[in-house]
Assembly symmetry: C2
Homo-oligomer: 296 residues x 2
């Protein structure tokens, strides 16, 4: 069996996926057969099902979905991508009221939550996305103070940053894309500025993952740049979900999802993450919900 | 008056030096005339004299040099460059016993102290310098476990890192040089690795200060990279000096200095920082010490 990684340029945070094995992936599903009285047929759970229609698992309590919970909350806000935003914002960026923050990939599953968390923390936020529609949504429905369509290119971004919020430097950057977005933000980083490296999607399919950055500006401005991965915070998930659930209930935080269908088209759907066609969490529906019982 | 900066590519941490004004610089000097009974003629003080032979100041107590103190301790270990090493190591790298650390510019004023502080913290240290003599000194006199002459070039450095200490990844990097040293260390950074950006001397005279780095590896390995400047720690200087003085007394920590002479040659001497001709702190002697009194 030959093992392949999805990105040959960087050591991954998961082991390479062996050929012929199930692709990893999170899921929201429904129990169709059970020997566990705590998780009877019809109960809904989340879990690392992978790209599959059915799987066998020993569910643990944190996987249980509260009755009445909406899938967009379960999978977007309180799922892996929402939790990623939570820990990136609060553990790495550590926002203070009044700071100027930038979020790239802001219409994606993680970025959309990061924008709202930074607003809850009292920051002024520039949200970056790849279409005017997404930008309008970020401004009108998610509270971004400023928006910018990155299709305008690097030179326009440099100018946008130079004039941002009356010419202020950038205190916080939630980076989902890397590349020239990151290079330009570093050039405009404020003293003691903080950058969380959440993802670098502009480089995922690049043959050259090395991108030119001005590290001297990080020295002179005492800039921090830190990568992180949500799984390291596993023990803090319940606490984070509790706080985010409160904000959901107060109407301060909401998710967004794009649902597509067809198990046989999962690989094509996956590629939507790279062409900008999803807004918020991208979910693939691979079966029908049912309340009916089933026997083992 | 036109203001010029020494590096036009990055916002500096000090204001540009106006043409015709005194170049900033630290000094160890002797009082030659005084109206302050606490600092009589003959007393030795440190201070921001700049590039000058005489200057007028209102000395504060922290500037006083203890009687019997050696210039190498005052200027190298307990001066700005030694304190830089102290805060870079303990506030940014936060070393743990047994970690694998790399120091670039290790024979310089700051690097030499960083190597020793990391050894005091119980790390295994690779010290990088620009000559075989400097490497031998770092190994034989300063306790570096491994040494490497960077004149061997990038490909050899990649191989050196790959085999370092039995193939371990790098937990801590005290970076004084930037450029390909930094790029290669990032490629070999350990999980939760920490990089302090102290200086980027390989880029100071480069027309292109943007250097290609693999930021995705920082994400997958949860790497931290942080710039810092010693002046931000001003209030902690006395505490740091106290701890380092204890290590000096115990023989665990020592400085190194290269003394050159001639006030008229200060600009040429300054350039030695860039050609590798100094070991440890570079001092220019611009006058003779005297115990004799003088009148205002």
């Amino acid at each position: 069996m030959r093992a392949v990684g999805l990105n040959p340029h960087a050591r991954g945070y998961s082991p390479p996926v062996p050929l012929g094995s199930v692709m990893p992936g999170g899921s929201l599903g429904q129990v169709v057969a059970s020997k566990n009285p705590s998780f009877p047929v019809g109960e809904r759970i989340t879990g690392p099902a992978g790209w599959t229609q059915y799987y066998v698992t020993v569910p643990r309590e944190p996987m249980r979905v509260q009755r009445g919970a909406k899938s967009v909350d379960v999978m977007s806000v309180l799922g892996g991508t929402g939790l990623t935003a939570y820990f990136g914002v609060f553990d790495i960026l550590k926002p203070k009221k009044g700071q100027l923050a930038v979020v790239s990939g802001a219409a994606g599953a993680t970025g959309l939550i990061a924008v709202q968390l930074l607003k809850i923390a009292g920051c002024t936020v520039l949200a970056i996305a790849g279409s005017d529609d997404k930008c309008a949504m970020l401004k009108n429905q998610y509270g971004a103070d400023y928006v910018w369509n990155y299709k305008e290119g690097r030179a326009a971004f440099k100018e946008k940053l130079r004039q941002l919020d009356g010419g202020r430097f950038v205190d916080l950057y939630f980076d989902n894309v890397g590349g020239w977005h990151l290079a330009e933000v570093i050039d405009r980083i404020a003293q003691n500025g903080r950058i969380c490296l959440c993802g670098q999607i502009s480089l995922y399919n690049s043959k050259d993952p090395y991108y030119p950055l001005n590290t001297m500006t990080l020295v002179t401005q005492r800039g921090l740049m830190q990568g992180f991965i949500v799984i390291d915070y596993f023990k803090q998930f319940p606490e984070a979900r509790k706080e985010m659930s409160k904000w959901i209930a107060e109407g301060k935080l909401k998710g967004e999802q794009t649902v597509v269908e067809g198990f046989d088209k999962v690989p094509q759907h996956f590629l939507k993450l790279f062409d900008g066609s999803n807004v918020g969490k991208l979910l693939v529906k691979v079966g029908e919900e049912s309340a009916g019982p089933a026997k083992l």
